[in-house]
Structures are given as C-alpha cells and as structure tokens.
Amino acid sequence: MATNIILIILVTSFATYISRFLGAFTSEKIVETSKIYKWFNCVAYSTLAALISRMLIFPSGDLSDVHYILRITVILLSILIFYVTKRNLVYPTVLSAIILATLNSFAV
C-alpha cells in the first residue's frame, strides 16, 4: 500500500507538472503585447472562473455533502459581505467558513 501511495503521488505530480512545463516552454516566443498573449490571458482567467464556479456548484469531497441551497446562500452572502466591506477579501472568506459550518451543523 505504501508503495502504491508513493506511485500515486508521483503520477499526480507528473500530471500536474506537464501543464506547467508546457506553459513555460511554449511561452518562450510569446511577447506580452501580442494578440496571442492577450488570448491566453483571457483563457487563463476564464478557466479559473470556470474551475471556481464548478467547485462551488458541482463540488467534490466534503463540500458535496452540503445542500446546494446552503452553498448558494453562503455564495450570495459572501458577495454581499465583499461589497459591504469595500471589496475586502478577508471578511467574506473567514465569514463564509463560519457561516457554512454553523448552518450545516443545524441542517444535519
């Protein structure tokens, strides 16, 4: 089992490093003012946004046990707190954890 875990870790890290390495390799000829750079920048932001919304809407792991109404409530409250606190990132982040943990303890 121990060897299997090490092998799984190595496979996971290799699968992750490939994208980073290819990014460094193919960007060697790309200039930051070029159109292709702008396109990659847009795709990077879109992919991140897609990943974050997927993590919230179709979560994996422990978060998937939380009812979607609770998740949506926390998302909306966090956006509200973000704007109310003049775009501060710490308050919505910390409060989201506390609100979700509290709501979920009542829900189950």
């Binding site: 799984i8 870790i9 992750t16 926390v74 982040t93 979920n104």
Partner: protein
C-alpha cells in the same frame, strides 16, 4: 543566481493582510486532514503537497483513490483538472522573461504556478523592474508553496480535532476567496467577460462532460471574451 532583495520582496508579498495565503492555508489544512483520513503517513502527505502543490489535483487524486481508480485514470483525471495551469503559466511567463536571466529559473519556478501565487504576481508585477521579476516570482512561489506544505502538516495533525462541519467550513474558504478575488479584478470589458462567461460556461459544460468542463468552458469563454475585448476595447 537569485537576487535576494527581489526574492524577499516576493516572499513578503504573501504576508499582506488580504493575501491569498489565507485561502491557501485553510484549504491545505483541509487537504492535510483528508490525506490522513485516506491513510497517508505524514511523510507521504508532505511529499504530495511538495511535489503537486495544486489543490484541485490533490482533491481529484484523493477521490480517485477512494473509488480505487487505476494509475492511468488518476493521471488523466489530474491532468485534465490541472490543465488550467497551462494557460496560467503562458499568461505570466512573458511578464517575467528577461534575456539576462538563465532558463532554468523559468522551468524550475513554473512549479510554483497556482491560483494564489498567480494572483499575487498579477497584482504586483508592475512595480518590479523586468530583469528581476523572475526572482520576485520565485520569492512569491517559495512563500506560498511553504505555506501549503506547512498547512498540510497542520491539517494532518489537527484531523483528529476537526469535526466534519469544520472541515466543510475550511473547504469553502478557497473557492469563496478566489470568487471574490475574481470579482475584484473585473476592471476591463475583456477581463469582466472572461470571468463572467467562464463562471457560467464551466458549470454548463459540466452537463456534457464533467472532466472536460473546466477546460472547454475556459477556452470557449476566453475566446469569446478576447473577441469582445478586441471589438469594444479594453
């Protein structure tokens, strides 16, 4: 070698009050606890974060292990979920490039590309002279990477004291932080459309293919946003 002044500047960037380090730390505490519950030893948990340093990839690895997936399946699932690192790397390397710097720095430091370090760099790189940006980036990467490793250890040992609601609370910290950070950078038509379209199309493509949804959603949304930006200006 590495310029210590700029390296330190990068390290210190992670210490700011609203730094992504908070979200990073919280989510890797949850990962540490998860790995312990999966039967990893402390050494294996450290090795996992040390070598992978990508949250969704570690989650996919854990889930794949739970269902007893083969190594090939784990490889493909992790590669797909972490393929977002490709456009992310391409979108920062040209900002760091300078002919006076050796290439090994770029190939080694690309390991540090993750959402938190990427966002720190994106909001601070303009203040740094171009020939030292790579050292600044290595500083950011080293700091965030060490925070992730330290938090994994913390989560591993705290696992016995964390109940399920606390773990759930920790797991939402990461997406909520980055959701707010993304809303915060929506300052041009191009970036706003990229982020909004990505957030909408990612889950829509999930109905067609859960594995490919992030990648396809990201490429389609990014391309449309690029065209919108080109047409209506930035």
């Amino acid at each position: 070698m590495i310029n210590p002044k700029y390296f330190l500047k990068g390290v210190l960037c992670s210490r700011k009050f609203d730094s992504p380090a908070i979200a990073l730390g919280a989510s890797f505490i949850a990962i540490g606890a998860l790995l312990k519950n999966l039967g990893f030893t402390i050494q294996e948990s450290i090795l996992s974060t040390f070598l992978t340093y990508a949250l969704p990839g570690s989650l996919v690895m854990a889930e794949s292990m739970l269902i007893g997936a083969s190594l090939i399946n784990i490889f493909l699932a992790v590669w797909l979920v972490n393929s977002r690192l490709y456009p992310m790397t391409v979108s920062i390397m040209p900002l760091l490039k300078h002919e006076s710097q050796p290439r090994w720095k770029y190939y080694l430091s690309c390991h540090f590309v993750a959402v938190s370090s990427w966002l720190i760099l994106k909001s601070n790189y303009e203040e740094i002279e171009k020939n030292y940006r790579i050292d600044f980036w290595i500083g950011i990467g080293t700091a965030t990477w060490l925070i992730a490793i330290f938090s994994t250890v913390l989560g591993y040992y705290a696992a016995d004291f964390l109940n399920k609601d606390m773990i759930i609370g920790l797991t939402i910290v990461n997406p909520i932080y980055f959701m707010c950070a993304m809303i915060g950078v929506m300052k041009t038509i191009q970036l706003s459309s990229a982020i909004l379209l990505g957030a909408i199309l990612g889950p829509i493509f999930y109905f067609i293919s859960p594995e490919w949804s992030v990648l396809i959603g990201g490429v389609v949304a990014g391309t449309v946003a690029y065209l919108i930006g080109e047409k209506y200006g930035n």
